[in-house]
Symmetry: C2
Subunit: 188 residues, 2 copies
């Protein structure tokens, strides 16, 4: 359980990626996809348990007490060219990706998605190197099966992942990579 970590990821980081958080950049990218009729992909709201609400008037409800819940799914999902897309995005300042950053539930969720015919992956940003990689769900599962490691080394992403080059617009064009991997040979 890493609630404070879950919050941290929404903070702006100052090095790399022009000062924007990964979440902010992905949201911007998704808005671009939506506005240009490319795909409909949204970030799910942060799951919270609301325990106290004040209603000073019918319109102005204020939540006075709530708690962060462990997410049971990934943060992002949607549809691209008729196919279901599902992914989790994380950033790290380290030169490896700590598996503690992903909840077991989220990995099980990605597995279920792929079993049901969806496209599932991770987007990992290494702020130290200013790089972002897409790692296919199956490759993640293979890595997890192979050993008891607590993190995925950077070299694994370089070898098995697909780097997403930052662009002006859309900022993090992950669907360009999705198109290459999952829609091989199909027209863009």
């Amino acid at each position: 359980m890493n609630y404070p970590m879950g919050i941290k990821k929404t903070k702006t980081i100052n090095h790399g990626n022009r000062g924007m958080s990964l979440e902010g950049a992905i949201n911007e990218t998704n808005e671009y996809y939506l506005a240009n009729d490319i795909a409909v992909i949204h970030k799910k709201p942060t799951p919270v348990t609301i325990t106290k609400v004040d209603f000073p008037s019918r319109r102005d409800a204020v939540i006075k007490e709530a708690y962060f819940k462990i997410p049971s799914t990934t943060d992002y999902n949607g549809i691209y060219k008729g196919r279901y897309i599902d992914f989790e995005a994380k950033e790290t300042r380290l030169n490896f990706f700590p598996l503690a950053n992903i909840h077991r539930h989220q990995i099980i969720h990605l597995k279920k998605i792929i079993e049901n015919g969806g496209i599932g992956f991770l987007l990992i940003m290494f702020s130290k190197f200013d790089t972002i990689f897409l790692l296919d769900g199956e490759k993640l599962f293979n890595f997890l099966q192979e050993g008891k490691r607590k993190s995925i080394p950077y070299a694994f992403f370089e070898k098995e992942g697909y780097q997403i080059k930052e662009k002006y617009q859309p900022r993090i064009d992950y669907l360009e990579v999705v198109q290459k991997i999952y829609f091989k040979g199909e027209p863009v």
Copy 2:
């Protein structure tokens, strides 16, 4: 903007459906689908803007102030037999469905989903009659285009919708109806 209404829908209602809210019954149904490898469909968390968080310790973050946001998408989405599923669920005690209960953003969202090859619909529960109908997105759009009505009459659901009979398990087997409408002739 109907924040308090947005909260109300999670309350338990006492007549019909054995005292369970529509949301509770759909969540139970989705758990059944998940556990039985039928589909992966989840309710999205209620969207809130968090403005104050207390951190008494690293593990115990408490949200002290937050506000309900207008949802920009529908509440439920997921994957069934490789296809993207998206819907909004609402209950009403009236003998018509007030369109004010659905945000404009949600209707636009459903439109985009269907344009991108997804399956989009409404699930409406009429607690007065203890009935639940699935209304296909296209039929909703046609209704909206035809006039300036502020509500959809019950008769429209009887004519254009598909009734979902309550069962013991899963409670609200909407995928049985989805199968009939959107997977015509395909094996179950």
